[in-house]
Amino acid sequence: MRITADEVLSAAQSAAIHVDAPRAATLATELTRCLEALAPLLAFDAAGVEPAVAVGAVGMPLRADESEPIAMREPAVALAPHARDGFIAVPYDPSSADGEVGAGPQA
């Protein structure tokens, strides 16, 4: 198993982390080494084994799907780098290709 520099750049874009081309080449070498160390996972017999997302005594229960008053709203807004009128403010650039996805209200 290996990862190419192009795949590193693609992963970096998905992870919203800037990586330049020289760094991508170095990371490709480092991450290929990591992936090679993981290869034994493909070698054992897993036929019929149900994957476990958690095997603690209590499993991984989900919270009840119920809305509750947000008691921490004001402190949470106070933590934000920018806030306006009680809302967290982030930049919005409609001309950006990705501006429509995940963008918050206009600051």
Binding site: M1, I3, E7, V8, S10, A11, A12, S14, A15, A16, I17, H18, V19, L27, E30, L31, R33, C34, L35, A37, L38, P40, L41, L42, F44, A46, V49, E50, P51, A52, V53, A54, V55, G56, A57, V58, G59, M60, P61, L62, R63, M72, P75, A76, A78, L79, A80, P81, H82, I88, V90, P91, Y92, D93, S96, D98, G99, G102, A103, G104
Partner: protein, 485 residues
């Protein structure tokens, strides 16, 4: 090895406070003095990210004023250090990252709230590898923590600051996180006791998540009794953490000081045991012999999938970290680098805020969840997790009460070697399995090799922490006697 008699100091100090002979302010002053002496040494160990002497002194005074108002807690007047990825509302919580350099949580972690309710006094937040990613505490944005036993060597990780603070004598107990060995590994390398309890035993509310299905809040202590006392104070169900278990909290300290007659200790044999340094192997063999002398039956156990624990852990941890750290985008928390679009702001903020190891692991996790998904590594790791749980169930069902192995394959390496990927890659070989399957595990000192501490790890079935403490305390006492105590 700390003298077992010293373990009574928490109890004795508490009793002294209750009869008016001791005062919490005296314990806080002693801890702060020791912390300043350690920091003033030429080889500053760099144990802490934040220290709040004024608040600690204020808490101690409050305890004294309120003494007699209510039932005194089990940790009355005990100074404690908190790993800096557990939320505290009076000190910042940086997670060892520039991303959260100025972050002060609006609430405190349940574990922190509970030790405070038991009378402990938080004196400082301890250094750690950034977001708990590392095994050396050289990957903190606030500098490396050095090993008190040998300042030229690493303290282990990820929570080297907490373990080294206890080993250096600044405090007797600390709370810290353990995702793949983050408490046990540094405890072993620094020569103290480190517990990762059963998954769900201690609430994770307020622990900044790295890999939620693997993350635990753990305890570092100078002795087994320190850890048992602290677990009794923090364990229990918490409605704020859906994964915390509604299981009765036992009297852990009552398990100490018993004979091991009738106990079966299974010595874990690993397919890659040759990677263990001979001195470590020798000291762990000597520990197994001690269990035998204490009355236990010792037999070998060979779980067939144990050698795959570390790669499975690495895959799951990297994939879960991708979503856990997605929240750090400059919008709601911490550092923001301004830009004209949200996307550019997020990318610049994350690139400036995360260190190299975090970036490396996030890219690995993103790749595994994306292009490499066709390889099926994540599914394989989760299948391995199920098989490993079966392996351990089989071992315990065969009559073994507790399993034993080295905690780490070697002693603390010199600081420059910590970046060697080959050294790094094997450090969680013995600790990761307990995180994958959620069973409790305890690292205990088993001796020293050329002056460097070596730890052995005990593993028990879910919620059998008392068994760990019983075996560990008997071993601790015998080892102390052997050393001329």
């Amino acid at each position: 090895v700390t003298e077992p008699e010293e373990a009574r100091r928490i109890v004795e100090f508490r009793d002294g406070v209750l009869v008016g002979e001791r005062a919490p302010q005296e314990a806080v002053a002693a801890a702060l003095t020791r912390m300043s002496h350690v920091a003033a040494e030429p080889d500053d160990l760099n144990l802490f990210i934040s220290v709040d002497a004024d608040a600690a002194g204020g808490c101690a005074r409050d305890l004294e004023v309120r003494l007699g108002d209510s039932e005194p807690g089990t940790l009355l007047g005990t100074p404690i250090v908190i790993g800096d990825n557990l939320a505290t509302s009076t000190l910042r919580t940086t997670c060892g990252s520039q991303m959260l350099a100025d972050y002060v949580s609006p609430y405190q972690a349940t574990a922190v709230q509970r030790v405070r309710a038991a009378g402990a006094i938080v004196v400082a937040k301890a250094n750690l590898d950034e977001f708990g990613m590392g095994v050396s505490t050289t990957r903190s944005a606030y500098g490396a923590t050095r090993n008190p036993a040998a300042p030229g060597r690493v303290s282990g990780g990820a929570n080297g600051g907490a373990a080294a603070a206890v080993a250096a004598g600044c405090v007797r107990v600390a709370l810290a996180s353990d995702t793949g060995g983050g408490v046990r590994h540094p405890a072993a390398l620094c020569g103290v006791v480190g517990l990762k309890p059963t998954y769900g035993r201690i609430s994770r509310f307020g622990l900044v998540a790295l890999a939620p299905s693997l993350d635990h809040v753990g305890i570092v202590g100078a002795t087994v009794e320190d850890v048992a006392l602290t677990l009794g104070a923090v364990a229990g169900h918490d409605p704020l953490d859906p994964t915390s278990a509604d299981v009765v909290v036992e009297m852990y300290v009552d398990a100490l000081g018993h004979s091991l007659r009738g106990t079966v200790v299974g010595v874990l044999r690993h397919r890659d045991d040759e990677a263990v340094q001979p001195a470590v192997r020798h000291l762990c063999d000597a520990a197994a012999e001690r269990f035998r002398r204490l009355g236990a039956e010792v037999r070998e156990v060979r779980p067939p999938h144990l050698h795959l624990a570390q790669p499975a852990y690495q895959v799951i941890a990297a994939c879960e970290a991708v979503s856990s750290l997605a929240r750090f985008d400059g919008s709601r928390f911490g550092a923001r680098v301004e830009a004209t679009s949200w996307r550019t702001m997020a990318e610049r903020s994350r690139s400036a805020g995360f260190g190299q190891e975090v970036v490396r692991r996030l890219l690995l996790g993103t790749h595994l969840l994306g292009v490499a998904r066709r390889e099926g590594l994540l599914r394989r790791a989760q299948q391995l997790r199920a098989l490993m749980a079966d392996d351990f169930r089989t071992a315990f069902a065969s009559g073994v009460h507790v399993l034993f192995s080295p905690t780490a394959p070697g002693v603390a390496c010199i600081s420059g070697e910590a970046e060697n990927p080959e050294v790094h890659a094997v450090q969680e070989r013995y600790t990761a399995a307990a995180n994958l399957i959620g069973v409790p595990a305890l690292s205990i000192p088993v001796g020293r090799a050329d002056g460097l501490p070596v730890g052995g790890q005990l593993i028990a079935p879910h919620f059998a922490e008392r068994t760990l403490f019983a075996v560990a305390s008997a071993h601790e006492r015998l080892l102390f006697e052997e050393l001329g105590g």
